[in-house]
C-alpha cells in the first residue's frame, strides 16, 4: 500500500479510536451516575485513545519514509559487483538511477547488462517487501495502540492532562519544523556558496566591480572566462529599492495618517480596501505597465528636458515598484496609528495642540515600531521583487548611481543565471547561491538595524 493510503487509514482508525474511547468512558460513567464521576470529559478519553492509536504509527511512518529508500539503495548497490559500482560518486549515482529506472519500468530492460537486470529485480522485490511489511506493521501498531489506549480508560484515569501535554508537544514540533526548514534552506545555500567560493575567491565576489557571468561550457567554446563581481548588482538593487522607497514611504505614511486620523468613516470604508487592491495586482502586470507606459514616458520627459534617459531605467522600475508597495506601508501604519490610545490624542489636544501637531509629536512616535515594521516589510519586498525589474530596468549590470540609466538587480541575475542550459556545478550556476546568501545576509542586517532603531527611538505607551 502507498504511504498516503496508509496515512489515510491511520487517520480513519484514529477517528474510530476516538469514538471507541469516548463510548467506553460513557459506558463506564453510566453506572456511576453520569459523566461528572469521570475525571475528564468523555471527549478527552476519546482523544487519548485516538492519540495512542494514530501518533506512534504516524511517527513510525515518517521515519520509515525517510530511511526506506537509502536503505534499499545501499542494499542493491552492495549486491552488485565492484567493477560496476565504481568508486566515484557520479558513476555510483548513474548506476543507481539506471537500476531504479529499470525497476520502475521507465527504462526498457532490453540491451542492459544482466547484472543490472538482476539488481533491478532485487530492488523491485525489496520495494514490494518494504511496502507490505510497512502496511502490516502499521496495522499492528494502530490496533495495539487502540487496545492499549482504550484499556487504560478508567473513571479515575486523568486523561485531560495527558492530552494537554501531547497537544503542547505537537505545537512545539510544528514550531520546530518551521525553524528547521529555515535552517535547512540557509545551510543549503551556505554550502553551495562555499562551493562557489572555491572557484571564485570571496573577496573578488564581494568587492568586484564587474559582473559578467558568461563562462564557456566546453573547452573548445569561444566564451568569456566570466567575472563575478557582485557590487554592480547590489548597487542596482539598492538604487531601485531606494527609488521605490522614496515613492512608497511618504505616500504610504501620509495616506495612512489621513485614513487613521482625518478620514470620515465612509471615506475610510471605501479608501482602505481600494488602496489594498494595489497589493493584489500581480507583479507581472506592474512589470509591463512599467515597461510599456512608464519607462517610455520617463524617457520622453527626460528628452524634453535635454537629458538622455535610457528606455529601461531604474527610475521607471523603482517608481512602479513604489506604487506596488504603498499598501504594505499604509495598511500596517494605519493599523498601528489606530491602535494608539485615544487618551494620548485627548491629552495632546487638551494641551492646545492642533491635530497635525498631535499626529507629528505624539502619535507617530508612539506608533513608530509598527511603522518601521511596515517599512521594513516593504524594503524586503522591494529587494526581493524581480518581475518589474526584469521588464523595466534591464539586464545590463552597470555600476551607476544614476536612476536614469538601466541597471540590474540581484534577483534578476539569479533568474538569468538559472534559466538556460548550464552545468549544475559550474560557477555560473553556483553564483546564484552566493547571490542568494548575500541577499539574505543584507536583508538580515537591515532587519537587525531597523530593530535597533526602533529600540532606540520607540516611545512606548503602557
Amino acid at each position: 500500500m502507498q504511504a498516503t493510503n496508509i496515512l489515510i487509514l491511520i487517520l480513519a482508525l484514529g477517528i474510530f479510536a476516538f469514538y471507541i474511547g469516548r463510548g467506553r468512558s460513557l459506558a463506564m460513567a453510566k453506572p456511576l451516575g453520569g459523566i461528572r464521576n469521570l475525571h475528564s470529559l468523555p471527549s478527552y478519553y476519546g482523544a487519548y485513545t485516538a492519540l495512542w492509536c494514530a501518533l506512534p504509527s504516524t511517527i513510525l511512518l515518517c521515519l520509515w519514509m525517510i530511511f526506506d529508500e537509502p536503505l534499499i539503495n545501499s542494499l542493491v548497490m552492495g549486491s552488485i559487483s565492484d567493477q560496476l559500482a565504481d568508486d566515484s560518486l557520479a558513476t555510483y549515482n548513474l548506476q543507481l538511477n539506471k537500476i531504479s529506472n529499470i525497476a520502475e519500468g521507465i527504462l526498457s530492460s532490453r540491451g542492459q547488462s544482466p547484472e543490472l537486470l538482476i539488481a533491478a529485480d532485487y530492488m523491485s522485490r525489496l520495494q514490494t517487501m518494504s511496502q507490505w511489511s510497512l502496511t502490516a506493521l502499521m496495522l499492528c501498531l494502530t490496533m495495539a495502540g487502540l487496545f492499549l489506549g482504550s484499556s487504560k480508560i478508567d473513571p479515575a484515569f486523568r486523561a485531560r492532562p495527558v492530552v494537554e501535554k501531547v497537544m503542547q508537544n505537537l505545537l512545539l514540533a510544528c514550531a520546530c519544523l518551521a525553524i528547521f526548514t529555515t535552517l535547512g534552506i540557509v545551510l543549503s545555500v551556505l554550502f553551495e556558496s562555499l562551493q562557489f567560493f572555491r572557484s571564485v575567491p570571496a573577496h573578488e565576489f564581494i568587492f568586484g566591480l564587474e559582473w559578467s557571468p558568461q563562462t564557456a561550457i566546453r573547452e573548445d567554446q569561444v566564451g568569456s572566462s566570466g567575472s563575478f563581481g557582485a557590487v554592480p548588482l547590489f548597487v542596482g538593487t539598492l538604487l531601485v529599492s531606494a527609488v521605490a522607497m522614496v515613492v512608497a514611504v511618504p505616500i504610504g505614511l501620509m495616506s495612512a495618517i489621513y485614513l487613521a486620523e482625518y478620514a470620515s468613516k465612509s471615506v475610510r470604508a471605501v479608501a482602505k480596501p481600494t488602496l489594498e487592491v494595489l497589493a493584489g495586482i500581480p507583479t507581472v502586470v506592474y512589470g509591463f505597465f512599467a515597461a510599456l507606459t512608464v519607462a517610455p514616458f520617463i524617457r520622453d520627459l527626460g528628452t524634453s528636458f535635454g537629458l538622455s534617459v535610457s528606455s529601461e531605467s531604474a527610475l521607471a522600475a523603482g517608481g512602479v515598484m513604489g506604487i506596488m508597495i504603498i499598501p504594505f506601508i499604509s495598511s500596517l501604519a494605519d493599523d498601528v496609528i489606530t491602535a494608539v490610545p485615544q487618551s494620548m490624542r485627548d491629552g495632546s489636544l487638551a494641551m492646545g495642540a492642533t491635530h497635525s501637531e498631535t499626529v507629528r509629536r505624539v502619535i507617530i512616535p508612539a506608533a513608530l515600531p509598527g511603522i518601521v515594521g511596515g517599512i521594513m516589510l516593504a524594503v524586503s519586498r522591494a529587494i526581493g521583487e524581480t518581475m518589474i525589474v526584469v521588464m523595466a530596468a534591464g539586464m545590463a549590470a552597470k555600476l551607476t548611481a544614476n536612476p536614469l540609466e538601466s541597471v540590474t538587480t540581484v534577483t534578476v541575475q539569479i533568474v538569468t543565471l538559472l534559466t538556460g542550459d548550464q552545468e549544475f556545478d559550474s560557477p555560473k550556476t553556483l553564483a546564484a547561491f552566493a547571490l542568494g546568501l548575500m541577499l539574505f545576509t543584507v536583508t538580515l542586517l537591515l532587519n537587525i538595524f531597523a530593530l535597533h532603531i526602533v529600540k532606540k527611538y520607540r516611545e512606548q505607551y503602557e
Binding site: M344, A350, R361, E459
Partner: protein
C-alpha cells in the same frame, strides 16, 4: 415615558443591590422646567454658562444648565454615574468637539468671550483652559518632554534655559520636582500612577492656563496618591480656577469651595460646599449625599 421609567427604576435597583440602603418612597427625578436651587451665579465670574444643552446624536446629555465659575475658586461637580458632569466639564474647553455627533447649544463665556463663537481659536482656548483626565495619560516621552510639550508648541520659551525653568517650576508647582529631578530624562510612563497624574497636572500648568479642568483625577489612584493630589489642588487654587468632577463626596467636601450637584443631565443644586454637605436645599441632593442612591 421611557425616560421616566428608567428614572423610577434606578433607585429601586440600587436599593436591591445594596440592602442597607433605604428604598425611596417617591421617584427621584427633577421636574420638567425646575430651576436650579442655590447660588449658581456670582459677581466675580471667570466663566459663565447659560442655558447649556448638549446632545450626543439624538440623545440629550445636558439639559438647560446655567452656572458661573468664579475666579480662583474650586468648584466640584458631583452626581451619580451618567449624570452628565464629565460631559459638562468637557464643554468648557471644547473637548467635546472631538466626539463625533456631539452638539452643544447655549452660551459659554470666559472673561466675556464666547467660547463657541466661530472666531474663537480652539487651540488657544485649550491653552487657557487646561485639562487633567481620569486616567493618567502621560505621553510616551521623557518626564522633561512631557512637561515641555505645551510650552514648545505654544512657543513659550525662547531658549533652552527658559524651557528648563518652565519645566522646573511646573514640576515644583505639581509637587513632583523632588521626586523626579534626578531622572528628568526617563520616560514619564515609568512613574507610579499618582506620580503620573501629578506629571499630567504639571504638564497642564506648564502653559500657565487660567482654568484647570479635572475629570475624576483620583479615581485611578490609591488613597495616599489621592491625598497628595488633593493637597496639590488646594495649593493650585491660589493661582488657578479649578473645576473638578469627582465620584467621591468626601473629596468634593475636602477640596472645593462650591459644589454643584448634577442629576440626569440637569443641574439640581449649586451651593457653598459646607452648605451642600450639611443642609442641602434640594431633596435629591440630600438623597445623594446621604447615600440613598448613587
Amino acid at each position: 415615558m421611557t425616560k421616566a421609567a428608567t428614572v423610577a427604576k434606578k433607585p429601586k435597583k440600587a436599593a436591591g443591590v445594596k440592602a442597607k440602603k433605604v428604598a425611596v418612597d417617591q421617584p427621584l427625578q427633577v421636574d420638567e422646567g425646575e430651576a436650579t436651587v442655590g447660588q449658581s451665579f456670582t459677581d466675580k465670574a471667570k466663566m459663565t454658562m447659560r442655558n447649556i444643552n448638549v446632545f450626543y446624536g439624538d440623545k440629550q446629555a445636558i439639559h438647560d444648565v446655567s452656572i458661573d465659575i468664579a475666579q480662583n475658586e474650586v468648584i466640584a461637580m458631583i452626581g451619580p454615574s451618567g449624570c452628565g458632569k464629565s460631559t459638562f466639564l468637557r464643554t468648557l474647553n471644547r473637548m467635546n468637539d472631538t466626539v463625533e455627533g456631539c452638539r452643544v447649544e447655549g452660551e459659554i463665556c470666559m472673561d466675556g468671550e464666547n467660547l463657541y463663537s466661530p472666531s474663537l481659536d480652539v487651540v488657544e482656548l485649550r491653552a487657557r483652559v487646561g485639562m487633567v483626565f481620569q486616567k493618567p495619560n502621560p505621553f510616551p516621552k521623557s518626564i522633561y518632554e512631557n512637561v515641555a510639550y505645551g510650552p514648545k508648541i505654544h512657543g513659550l520659551a525662547d531658549t533652552r534655559v527658559d524651557l528648563d525653568e518652565i519645566v522646573e517650576n511646573s514640576l515644583k508647582k505639581a509637587s513632583l520636582w523632588e521626586e523626579v529631578k534626578e531622572r528628568l530624562h526617563q520616560p514619564g510612563t515609568g512613574l507610579s500612577g499618582g506620580q503620573q497624574q501629578r506629571l499630567c497636572i504639571a504638564r497642564a500648568i506648564a502653559v500657565s492656563p487660567e482654568v484647570i479642568l479635572m475629570d475624576e483625577p483620583c479615581s485611578a489612584l490609591d488613597p495616599i496618591a489621592t491625598a497628595k493630589i488633593e493637597e496639590l489642588i488646594e495649593e493650585l487654587s491660589q493661582n488657578f480656577t479649578i473645576a473638578i468632577v469627582t465620584h467621591s463626596m468626601q473629596q468634593a467636601a475636602r477640596v472645593s469651595n462650591r459644589t454643584a450637584y448634577f442629576h440626569l443631565g440637569k443641574l439640581v443644586e449649586v451651593n457653598p460646599t459646607e452648605k451642600v454637605f450639611t443642609m442641602p436645599e434640594h431633596k435629591l441632593t440630600e438623597a445623594y449625599i446621604t447615600g440613598r442612591f448613587g
